[in-house]
């Protein structure tokens, strides 16, 4: 797992005055499922297109298996892409679509026929050879796009928001399907998405990006439990991000109240951000909590109730399976290891993103 299959070194890219990627360094190991995650415009798709060869970086190089491939056109690269809107060839049948890459490479008819059968079986669409892309549903077209890419036995499969156009249930099914495919084929996946749940479900490694900079690289658990800055904390799941002062090691003052925590090495009396996940907040009897508050909102979300608790002038977001009616006085308790301390943002891209919705 340690070899660098793809190595991006000092990649920069801008369109006109618009800086998309700034001195990006990233490597992808063999057999890894790596996800580039971030809001639209963060540079994730551009990164993928640079790896695929559809865009040229202004500066920096792309290495594949130790060789600089920065100047190779897409058709000379040992990787295949599954495009956002499938990009199937509508003037060809399904079989012709899947055969396209193999025909170009001059494979024998018997080999191609075998491969078509194999690929259709792999994506659970046996018998669809003579259908046309237009006659398939979105999910089926997506599978064909995957089949068309994998018959070429690429070392790396690039996937550009492949599930973006599918509805929720189908998306979840396809997530499992993709994990299964990756395990069966043993190839490296580089996956682009803006959907944090998708990223956490499927990836070995998640790369969180914002405004052209990598914010954090880590396993899904790392990213979720130990976000490095406010942007990551906010983008991955719901969270309470609160101004605080790190009084000393293992003690943080949040909204004027001192909480025990497990973090060290932030110095003394340092301004920091703390992240507390809503499911990590326990609502207890008022006198038993660290601080006291009142429940102000309550929404039923299926698996849990989502509540807002006003305490020390801050609306705390709380997820709990136990219903606490609006207006109830409660105490807030957080276990020390559930308080995540982060340095204050040093630049705009590390701040909580504000989306117009």
């Amino acid at each position: 797992m340690s070899t660098k299959l793809i190595d991006l070194q000092h990649i920069s890219k801008s369109y006109g005055d618009n800086l998309i990627l700034d001195d990006m360094n990233l490597y992808i190991r063999e057999n890894e499922f790596l996800t580039l995650l971030g809001p639209s415009g963060c540079g994730k798709t551009t990164t993928l297109r640079i790896i695929g060869g559809f865009e040229k970086a202004d500066r920096g190089i792309v290495c594949f298996d130790g060789q600089d491939i920065s100047h190779l056109p897409p058709n000379k690269r040992q990787l295949n892409t599954v495009f956002q809107k499938y990009a199937l060839f509508t003037h060809m049948t399904i079989a012709q679509n899947i055969a396209f890459g193999l025909k170009i490479k001059g494979k024998s008819k018997a080999y191609i026929d075998d491969k078509i059968k194999y690929a259709l079986k792999l994506v659970n669409l046996d018998g669809y050879e003579n259908r046309t892309p237009d006659s398939l549903s979105g999910g089926q077209q997506q599978r064909i796009a995957i089949a068309r890419a994998i018959v070429n036995e690429p070392k790396v499969l690039l996937l550009d928001e492949p599930l973006g156009a599918l509805d929720l249930k189908l998306r979840q099914d396809m997530q499992y399907e993709l994990i299964r495919l990756k395990n069966e084929l043993g190839i490296t996946f580089i996956y682009v998405t803006h959907d944090q749940e998708e990223a956490l479900t499927m990836s070995d490694t998640v790369v969180v990006m914002n405004q052209g900079y990598i914010q954090q690289i880590g396993t899904p658990e790392d990213i979720y439990n130990e976000p490095e800055n406010a942007f990551v904390a906010d983008f991955i799941g719901d969270s309470n991000i609160i101004d605080a002062i790190m009084v000393q090691d293992e003690l943080v003052e949040i909204l004027g109240t001192r909480f025990a925590c497990v973090d060290i090495d932030f110095g003394t009396n340092t301004p920091v951000d703390v992240v507390i996940r809503p499911e990590d907040i326990e609502l207890v009897a008022p006198e038993k909590g660290t601080i006291e508050g009142v429940v102000t909102h309550l929404i039923f979300k299926g698996v849990h109730y989502e509540m807002e608790v006003l305490a020390n002038g801050f609306e705390w977001l709380v997820h709990s399976t136990i219903l606490v009616p609006v207006g109830t006085k409660v105490g807030i308790h957080v276990d020390p290891f559930n308080i995540q301390i982060m340095n204050k943002p040093e630049s705009e891209d590390e701040e909580v993103a504000v989306f117009d919705e």
Partner: protein, 271 residues
């Protein structure tokens, strides 16, 4: 169709009946009757006379050549236009369409002035002691006129078809190992074919039936089937033969329309 909305088509229906259906019926009536009103196929069959066959043959030949030339000019132009970004191409499309707003007759007359023996082009050539260009009143001038007048009708449908191709489909072909030439012949050309078909029929049919271009640039010496029909109506006052020949020409038009309808099933190439 919603019955309540049917009356909205009333004005057009009235127009169509008065100026399309009735005249068409009259052409058919005149085409299959003689001066006494009796049924005859003589008018239609008169196409087989040598001079009529010659005119029809020349019409088919010249419109075919014009169509091919238009295609050769239009496809590269359309693909350059389609490859440009929005701000650039709308300006160039505008420049390109601008002459189309000028009257068709005016543009053809302008070519006559340009090509005349003592016209603008020859004046310039003589000034530089170059051999003069003597194509006025020849089939070359007619082809030139056809290509000039009908080129936009070839460019626009091809341009439309090319614009509709998703860039990622082209990227996908490249991604699967196709080089530029393979991508063009296997992906871009087949996907733009509806536009090509529609362009061909939009150039070929008007070129086949024109009599103005051949009148102005052919000096009345070169007869196309359109000229023959026109002369039957205006000079010979023989509406019967004129209509009979029109029916023959209509068969050719129908054939080319059917062919393009079959090749462009989804109507993708239509403007």
């Amino acid at each position: 169709m919603n019955k309540k909305k049917l009356w909205l088509s009333g004005p057009y229906l009235f127009w169509a009946v008065c100026f399309i259906i009735i005249p068409l019926c009259m052409v058919i009536y005149y085409g299959i009757t003689d001066k006494t009103g009796a049924f005859t196929l003589e008018n239609v069959l008169s196409v087989s006379t040598p001079e009529h066959m010659k005119a029809l043959g020349l019409s088919l030949l010249l419109s075919l050549i014009s169509t091919i030339l238009c295609l050769i000019f239009a496809y590269p132009l359309a693909s350059i236009l389609a490859g440009m970004n929005k701000n650039q191409h709308s300006f160039i499309v505008l420049i390109f369409i601008l002459p189309m707003w000028m009257n068709f007759l005016l543009r053809t007359l302008a070519w006559q002035t340009l090509l005349e023996k003592t016209g603008v082009i020859n004046n310039i050539l003589t000034f530089f002691h170059l051999p003069s260009l003597e194509i006025i009143n020849t089939p070359y001038a007619i082809v030139l006129g056809m290509v000039y007048n009908f080129l936009p009708f070839m460019v626009l449908p091809i341009y439309n078809a090319l614009c509709k191709i998703d860039k990622n489909v082209i990227n996908a072909a490249r991604d699967l190992g196709a080089n530029g030439i393979q991508t063009f012949f296997r992906i871009i050309l087949p996907l733009s074919l509806p536009g090509v078909i529609s362009g061909i029929s939009m150039v070929f049919i008007p070129a086949l039936t024109t009599f103005v271009i051949s009148n102005i640039l052919g000096g009345g010496k070169i007869l196309l089937i359109g000229n023959v029909i026109e002369q039957e109506f205006t000079q010979a006052s023989n509406w019967h033969v004129g209509s009979g020949l029109s029916l023959v020409l209509m068969v050719f038009i129908l054939i080319s329309m059917v062919v393009s309808a079959i090749l462009d099933k989804d109507g993708e190439g239509s403007l």
